[in-house]
């Protein structure tokens, strides 16, 4: 009795346990009478410090501690899609069913449905040699996702028997000759990246249907983008919009330390909306991980790893996975909170000194790769992480550390947000390092002129930047018509092209083909306008043209009438500038 593990000290989410001889780092334990889930994060002699993933109110010194001998891991298998889980993968609908409207502590529940039967179709036959990553069979998890049951880590051999038909995830689907049994469900330690065979270069963009993103600052499939922005600049709306429209097979959405109402809203939207690419309900391709700001802080830390591990699992099936994390700052703050409870020496702004390396290892789990065990197949994980810098100050450690890791950077701007220009992506400071390598794809799939068009667009916006300084000193009236025309060009791009409504039925999603059509027309108009001014036409005259308003409203025109509007506009354009020329 004397030597049973027990709690000796409680301080916030950090609990010190004694008589823990033989425990190991990362081991999952259950603390106290309510059996709260925790993970060992430090060992000193026979005492261990446990990071508890639930509220520690009511824990007492002397309360029992139970060891599990396992690492913190997720359960992988059919039934993940369409699910909504907490930070340590407990299904929230299941928690609600058992314990009601409020989160209950110490809730023990299966991560995936054990009862549900899945139609298992074998791919291997007796006598086949298999090892890690080989596909044993498949299950149609949703209409579009074929779930591949893969050989778990550490298993290798020759198939003796293989099952077929309606099976639950705990049923045995195959037995190897040495007697090893393979089930549909398997576990994976969340802190350990799943292996991949070979990293591949990033040449293809992940199209999001957002003009400011796909046209100016695209994120590569398998790349990483960060969205830093102060509160109210639209991080969450951008993440939600990308979750809805991104060209990806599977979406993992992590609400990390964010608002409960927002999670309810995301869930609501996903259950109502259809995927523009496949026409199926969005929820069928989505997995939500919700650890809201008032749920335990330690589980917030785990939620990011839970999400990325599930992402890797679907990558290993050969899918393009987009992982959206809102917000990585809350995760970093959880690290800080736990670090300070452990009385570690703080680094910059109180964050632990290992902050940058933790952020680094997380973003490195993104990528496009050949799959371990099936070298001819590829899969990818694209990570989009929101960052919430305190006071909107981008020099803070989380933004800076993330910046080094991400190849795409969408800086959200207060000024744009105040004008209700959304997405408030600042075109002066944002960048996409991966763009040059993707240009070949754009040239081939979108249009041969694309690189020139992008160059032109940036030049127009840059010109406005230079002129705005002058404008502030001399005023618009004192400016030359040529300069006013340059300003007008930038205004059209900003208002008519970059600004995009997240709620307008036509505008919310803009296909890359449509982006090309729109941008060509904008540039065509701008060129005609600049030429006309050069020939001596006055800006006052041009401002009277009804074409401007039509151009600004182009984004509202439905897909069916777009072609007609463009043809009609072109005719009007020609007519207008020529008529004045005479």
């Amino acid at each position: 009795m004397k030597h049973t593990p027990k709690i000796i000290k409680v301080s916030g989410p950090a609990v010190q346990a004694g008589n823990m001889f033989g425990c190991f780092m990362g081991e999952v334990v259950r603390a106290g009478k309510d059996k709260l889930i925790g993970e060992i994060i430090r060992i000193e002699g026979d005492t261990a410090i446990v990071q508890v993933y639930e509220d520690t109110i009511g824990l007492k010194a002397g309360d029992p501690v139970e060891r599990t001998g396992e690492l913190l891991s997720v359960e992988l298998g059919p039934g993940l899609l369409g699910g909504i889980f907490d930070g340590i993968q407990r299904p929230l609908p299941g928690l609600a069913e058992h314990w009601g409207d409020f989160i209950h502590r110490g809730a023990l529940i299966h991560r995936l449905d054990r009862e549900k039967k899945w139609a298992f179709k074998p791919v291997v036959k007796p006598g086949d040699a298999v090892e890690y990553g080989f596909v044993i069979g498949t299950v149609q998890e949703s209409e579009h996702i074929l779930h591949k049951i893969m050989v778990p880590e550490g298993m290798k051999g020759v198939v003796k028997t293989v099952a077929e038909g309606d099976l639950a995830i705990s049923d045995i689907v195959a037995v190897l000759q040495d007697g090893t049994e393979i089930k549909m469900r398997q576990r994976w330690n969340i802190r350990e990246p799943r292996p991949r065979s070979e990293r591949l270069p990033l040449m293809v963009p992940m199209i999001t249907g957002q003009r400011a993103v796909d046209t100016l600052f695209p994120v590569a499939e398998g790349g990483a983008a960060i969205i830093p922005g102060g509160f109210g600049t639209g991080k969450t709306v951008l993440e939600q919009t990308i979750a809805k429209y991104a060209q990806a097979d599977v979406i993992i959405y992590i609400g990390c330390g964010e608002r409960g109402n927002e999670m309810a809203d995301t869930l609501h939207q996903l259950t109502k909306l259809k995927d523009p690419h496949t026409g199926k309900l969005l929820l069928e391709r989505t997995i939500l991980i919700a650890n809201t700001s008032n749920m335990p802080v330690a589980a917030r830390e785990a939620s990011i790893y839970t999400g990325v591990t599930i992402a890797e699992y679907y990558r290993d099936m050969g899918y393009r996975v987009a992982m959206l994390a809102d917000s990585t700052s809350r995760w970093a703050e959880a690290l800080r909170e736990i670090s300070s409870r452990l009385e570690e020496i703080p680094g910059e702004e109180g964050y632990p000194t290992y902050l940058a390396s933790r952020i680094g290892t997380f973003y490195e789990r993104a990528g496009r790769a050949r799959i371990q065990g099936r070298d001819q197949e590829t899969g990818s994980i694209t990570v989009i992480g929101a960052v919430s810098p305190p006071g909107g100050d981008f020099s803070e450690p989380v933004t800076q550390a993330s910046l080094r890791m991400a190849s795409t950077f969408w800086e959200l701007d207060y000024e744009l947000a105040y004008q209700r220009h959304f997405p408030a992506i600042n075109w002066r400071t944002s960048f996409s390092l991966a763009y040059p390598r993707m240009m070949a794809w754009y040239r081939e799939k979108v249009g041969g002129e694309w690189p020139e068009m992008i160059g032109r667009t940036h030049a127009i916006l840059q010109r406005e930047e230079e002129l705005s300084e002058v404008l502030k000193i001399v005023g618009a009236d004192a400016m030359e018509d040529r300069e006013r025309a340059d300003l007008e060009a930038a205004r059209l791009i900003r208002e008519g092209y970059l600004r995009q409504s997240a709620v307008h039925p036509t505008d919310a999603y803009c296909s890359i083909k449509r982006q090309e059509k729109m941008l060509s027309l904008f540039l065509e108009y701008i060129d005609a306008m600049l030429k006309a001014v050069e020939r001596g036409m006055s800006m006052d005259e041009i401002a009277k043209s009804p074409l401007v308003e039509r151009l600004l409203r182009l984004k509202e025109i439905s897909e069916e009438s777009l072609g007609e509007e463009i043809t009609d506009f072109r005719a009007g354009l020609k007519h207008f500038f020529e008529s004045i020329n005479r």
Binding site: I8, K9, V10, S11, G12, G18, D55, T56, I57, G58, L59, K60, G62, I84, L92, L95, A96, G100, D101, F102, H104, F231, G232, G257, G260, N261, E262, M263, A264, D265, L267, H268, A290, T292, S293, N294, V297, E333, R336, E337, S340, E349, G350, P390, G391, Y414, Y418, Q419, R420, L471, K472, I473, V474, G475, A476, D477, A478, E495, V503, E549
Partner: protein
């Protein structure tokens, strides 16, 4: 006391440091349990356990630690944390920040007893906030609409009329449909007796007190109690909303005092300070308050929160407004410049925001043109304010004709739309005022509104050419 068996007595205080009392061999005590300290003079103090270990417990004392004598003081541990006794009879009552009645009436006979640290709502059980609340203020109703179940703070500054504004909202929000019950929960944290009297007398005058629960922690009341005050208030609100099915409006003022109390307690616990000395867990702590708003599927009631905070030195990047803005669903920002111009409510709409607005407006809720009209007004005002900056350098003459119109729009927007003095406007009145204002700008500039809606809702310019030209 009848439940004496629930106490354990100790006479083993080892040391007293600031508000912290270290007790040796405290035995069977749990985190966040309450404790009573009996001083030899017969004085009783309460405290809460903030750290437990095998050898000792750390008790944080609510109120002063003066005259606590380690030799003679007896400490008793209650075997539970802070709880609040609830029944419908809490309505009309006034409590201290620690949940004790201070209106001279006897304690409420309890029907339920709840832990003040309410558990988190399971996100899948949350229902979407979507019912429009008419506050009577155009800057809120028209541009930053409040909906039931939302948490929308007011970012104020020293000397700005946040309390008057809150009072205005309380007066309007209380008017509800007949088949619904409305309740107000008010928590004053670290407020002055003048402020407390202002609210108490206005609740009494309007009769609001009958359906209100009031918690008052004055500036000279214990700091530790201040940390529990919003939690008592929200526990009462949850009972009224989710047990009694009432539409509850919670006003929390002043969150700045609350945060300063949190900092004070943190530093006395010798924790590593974060930005400006506030504890690193302040985000999590504030979230445990603000997130206790919302609606639950299958329940009639709702909790809407209006926390009020003072931005120190009007700085919106200060940790208190900053962390609040990251948790709440928008913010209403008050502006000193507008206040000086005599505009009431002095709401600066540009940094203000209501994230849940889209859920509460539009056809069947307010009116179909609401969203687009609001966008257009925003854009017009933002551009006008920008021109004001330019004009201050180059003079109004340097502006183009269109820009001069924007300048005039921004001025009229502040004087006629934002400003309304003590009067209340209906939502239709607010939207119509917006359409009328748009006439200052040429129609070709109304590009954020669809042509269809322009055709349907455009106001013929009543002022017309008679509108005075700004000089």
């Amino acid at each position: 006391m009848s439940n004496d068996l629930l106490y354990r007595e100790h006479r083993s205080i080892e040391s007293v440091r600031g508000p912290l009392v270290f007790v040796r061999a405290a035995g069977n005590t749990a985190l966040e349990d309450l404790a009573s300290l009996y001083l030899s003079e017969g004085d009783i103090r309460t405290g809460q356990i903030i750290e437990v270990s095998e050898k000792y417990a750390v008790v944080q004392v609510f109120g002063k630690t003066e005259r606590i004598n380690p030799e003679t003081t007896v400490i008793r541990f209650h075997e539970e944390g802070a709880k609040f006794d609830l029944s419908p009879l809490v309505l009309g009552r006034v409590f201290s920040g620690g949940g004790e009645p201070i209106d001279g009436l006897p304690p409420v006979p309890p029907l339920a007893r709840r832990d003040v640290h309410g558990p988190a709502i399971n996100p899948v059980r949350r229902d979407l906030p979507r019912d429009f609340i008419q506050t009577g203020l155009s800057a809120v109703d028209g541009l930053n609409t409040l909906v039931r179940g939302q948490k929308l703070p007011i970012f104020s500054g020293a000397g700005l009329p946040a309390n008057e504004m809150a009072n205005h909202i309380i007066g309007n929000a209380g008017v509800q449909r007949k088949d619904e019950k409305f309740a107000l929960v008010f928590a004053g944290m670290g407020i002055t007796s003048r402020e407390a009297d202002y609210f108490k007398s206005s609740f009494n005058n309007s009769g609001a007190i009958e359906h209100s629960v009031v918690f008052i922690n004055l500036a000279d009341n214990p700091v530790i109690e201040r940390i529990l005050t919003p939690r008592f208030a929200l526990t009462a609100a949850e009972y009224l909303a989710f047990d009694m099915g009432m539409q509850v409006l919670v006003v929390l003022t002043d969150m700045t005092h609350y945060c300063n109390a949190l900092r004070e307690v943190s530093s006395s616990r010798e924790e590593i300070p974060g930005r400006r000395g506030y504890p690193g867990y302040m985000y999590t702590d504030l979230a445990s308050i603000y997130e206790r708003a919302g609606r639950i599927k299958g329940k009639a009631g709702s909790i809407t929160q209006i926390p009020i905070l003072s931005m120190p030195d009007d700085d919106i990047t200060h940790p208190i407004p900053d962390l609040t803005g990251y948790i709440t669903e928008g913010q209403i920002v008050l502006d000193r410049g507008l206040h000086r111009k005599g505009i009431f409510p002095p709401i600066n709409v540009l940094p203000s925001l209501s994230r849940l607005m889209d859920r509460g407006i539009g056809l069947d809720r307010t009116r179909e043109d609401h969203r687009q009209l609001a966008d257009q007004l925003y854009m017009g005002h933002a551009r006008g304010v920008e021109q004001r900056r330019v004009a201050s350098i180059i003079g109004e003459e340097g502006l183009s004709e269109t820009d001069r119109k924007y300048l005039r729009f921004a001025d009229a927007f502040e004087k006629e739309f934002i400003h309304q003095g003590p009067e209340s406007r209906t939502i239709t009145g607010t939207l119509d005022a917006g359409w009328e204002l748009l006439n200052i700008l040429p129609e070709s500039e109304w590009i954020r509104i669809s042509r269809e809606l322009i055709g349907k809702y455009k106001k013929t310019d009543l002022h017309g050419a008679a509108r005075p030209q700004s000089k």
